[in-house]
């Protein structure tokens, strides 16, 4: 009994003040994917590498689009690995909860 009490007092409070105090992930953390419109060449390498098939590329009326959906993203980082131009990167951001699927869709476009 005393041992338990001592251990409890020694341990103290372990919880953190999240979300008032932000919880910053480790350096290697793979979070939300971000696209850089100016670097992307629409080569489609990320599209074919994505194991979850959440990167889509389209071309309509001369406009190229590339979208990523965070709904099904497994944050494996294969897109970042295969991109020859560094146009797609996984960031440290992880608070992705949203009310609609549309909010979980990011995209870039270019007119050719």
């Amino acid at each position: 009994m005393f041992k338990i009490l001592i251990k409890t007092l020694k341990t103290g409070r372990q919880t953190t003040k999240y979300p008032e105090k932000p919880d910053i992930p480790s350096a290697g953390f793979r979070g939300k994917t971000e696209l850089a419109a100016e670097k992307c060449t629409y080569c489609g390498k990320c599209v074919s590498a994505c194991p979850a098939n959440v990167i889509r590329q389209n071309e309509e009326n001369g406009e190229k689009t590339l979208t990523v959906s965070y709904c099904g993203c497994i944050f494996c980082g294969r897109c970042e690995e295969v991109c020859p131009n560094g146009a797609i990167k996984l960031t440290q951001e992880y608070e992705l909860a949203s009310k609609t699927k549309e909010d979980l869709l990011a995209g870039i476009r270019r007119n050719s």
Partner: protein, 521 residues
């Protein structure tokens, strides 16, 4: 050693052997369908070689037949695979379950997935295809399209019944109070003592093995990694090792060491979490809180080392994707602090009468039951089975590191807790050794071309041996058979609860540490 097994089998059953093929530590022996029970029985009883998997393949395009493979784990790192061919026109084979009880679920799985009937099976009910699934729809046949939605039909599942004065049934599940996956438990009780338990699973069968078919190798790595959430590393490494074996890829030594470290980190947080669960279920809230705190520290360490709390995204065919070069000091420091705190906690746990009262002699799995069902992992080692894939079939860097395999005989919840606690210390020691001898080399071998072929990959997951058999053709997965440890261990719970009282069921269940997801693929 593989050659010796072959010679013995040829000497005993010469005329029954049709074909033999050796590659690495695997020997494939194709035999006549009629002789398979005798040959399996010979391997199992004469050589004490445990049956570790049975799986079927649909080779109708190549050979015009279905194939069934019986996989035995032999001595000196040998795998003996007995293979039979089954003609589509006569889709039956003789069941070996009455000789080798461990064959039970495998044969029923083959019956559902391939439509091949095990003749003489003691329990020929469906296992994975539920009663509303149409007759004749067998998902793993190659002519079954992955997008097929068979019509729902009417049917009934008949449970075993225990009858007598004062005998009641308690149905539990498939929806449970906690946020866990579905499974049905049908208890027959007389008062509190449990007379019989029948489990029913596979409510959320995901068709993972079908998903693997025709998948490219680099994508399949991530599917393997996500089959059983908390055993990610064990699954992905087993898969990668199978592919590397087929292609003769020499994984750099440094990558092997890093894989070993990752696998032991996985064991650490799983075992700590299981001990937390056991403490919760005996209402030892203090112990549960502390064990959960320790588990959280480990998860944060995982994130520091790999960027992922569940150690994901590190493995690839050929090695690992990230180095852990500058992380050595912090890992060592945190683990040495963890060891002190863990030891303190375990002393408090085992010294507490309110805990030992509940876990001693509770949920016994006797040695003969564990051996008969081929129970694996810490559960087997708590029932006196001295088996660990890390030692029996060494992989990654385990043959270069020293570790003990703790074995207890009692087979109760206490023994299972002790095995896990002992393994925690061993895991820490393995990580320390691996970090201090971390060789200098690349972390990933270049993979230029994927060859056709098949091979086994295997790891000792926190729950026990995880076995992959991968068959590659034209850069794509032809067949990937996954055998998760829980597939072996679930049936043991039906024996573990006998003569125990209903209120002890949760603690027995927790002590077995079973996975729904890994089982229900």
């Amino acid at each position: 050693m593989t050659i010796q097994y072959l010679e013995y089998i040829k000497k005993e059953f010469g005329s029954q052997v049709l074909e033999e093929k050796r590659s690495h530590n695997e020997i494939y022996i194709t035999v006549r369908k009629e002789a398979v029970v005798k040959i399996c029985d010979f391997l199992y009883h004469h050589f004490d070689a445990p049956l570790i998997s049975i799986f079927a393949t649909d080779d109708r395009k190549k050979t015009g037949c279905f194939g069934i493979h019986y996989v035995f784990s032999g001595k000196e790192d040998a795998f003996i695979i007995i293979r039979i061919n089954i003609d589509e026109k006569d889709p039956k084979f003789t069941s070996v379950t009455h000789k080798i009880p461990a064959a039970n679920w495998y044969e029923r799985e083959i019956q559902d997935m391939f439509g091949l009937t095990p003749k003489g099976h003691p329990d020929p009910r469906r296992l994975m295809n539920f009663e509303d699934w149409a007759d004749g729809a067998h998902p793993l046949r190659k002519d079954f399209d992955i997008n097929t939605k068979p019509p729902r039909v009417k049917g009934e599942y008949v449970y075993r019944r225990v009858e007598g004065e004062g005998v009641y049934e308690i149905p539990v599940g498939p929806v449970h109070a906690g946020v866990i996956e579905p499974g049905h438990f049908r208890f027959s009780v007389a008062g509190e003592p449990i007379l019989n338990l029948e489990i029913r699973h596979f409510y959320t069968h995901k068709g993972v093995e079908k998903l693997f078919e025709n998948m490219s190798i680099d994508k399949a790595v991530f599917l393997a990694e996500r089959i059983s959430g908390d055993n990610s590393v064990a699954h992905v490494v087993a898969f990668c090792q199978a592919v590397e074996k087929i292609n003769g890829i020499n994984v750099p030594l440094r990558a092997k060491y890093i894989r070993t470290i990752l696998m032991e980190l996985e064991r650490l947080y799983n075992h700590t979490g299981d001990i937390a669960g056991i403490a919760t279920d005996v209402a030892f809230a203090f112990g549960a809180a502390h064990a959960n705190k320790l588990k959280e520290q480990l998860l944060q360490l995982n994130e520091y080392v790999t960027g992922s709390r569940l150690l994901r995204g590190m493995n690839a065919v050929g090695g690992v994707r990230r180095d852990i070069v500058d992380k050595r000091e912090r890992i060592l420091k945190e683990l040495s602090l963890f060891r002190i705190e863990f030891r303190e906690l375990m002393e408090l746990l085992f010294d507490s009468p309110s805990v030992s009262d509940r876990i001693e002699t509770t949920g016994r799995i006797y040695n003969d039951i564990a051996a008969g069902l081929h129970v694996v992992g810490p559960v087997a080692r708590a029932s006196g089975i001295d088996r660990d894939v890390r030692r029996e079939h060494p992989y990654a860097a385990y043959h270069e590191l020293e570790f003990k395999v703790p074995v207890y005989k009692a087979g109760d919840v206490l023994a299972r807790t002790q095995v896990r606690a002992d393994e925690v210390y061993e895991s820490i020691s393995i990580i320390e050794q691996a970090l201090s001898h971390l060789p200098d080399s690349d972390i990933k071998a270049g993979v230029t071309e994927i060859k056709d072929g098949c091979a086994f990959g295997y790891t000792e997951a926190p729950r026990g041996e995880t076995i992959y058999w991968v068959d590659i053709s034209n850069n794509r997965i032809e067949r990937c058979k996954v055998r998760d440890p829980s597939f072996c261990n679930w049936l043991a719970i039906e024996y573990a609860v006998l003569d125990n009282i209903v209120p002890d069921f949760p603690i027995i269940n927790k002590s077995l540490g079973l996975s729904y997801s890994g089982n229900d693929m």
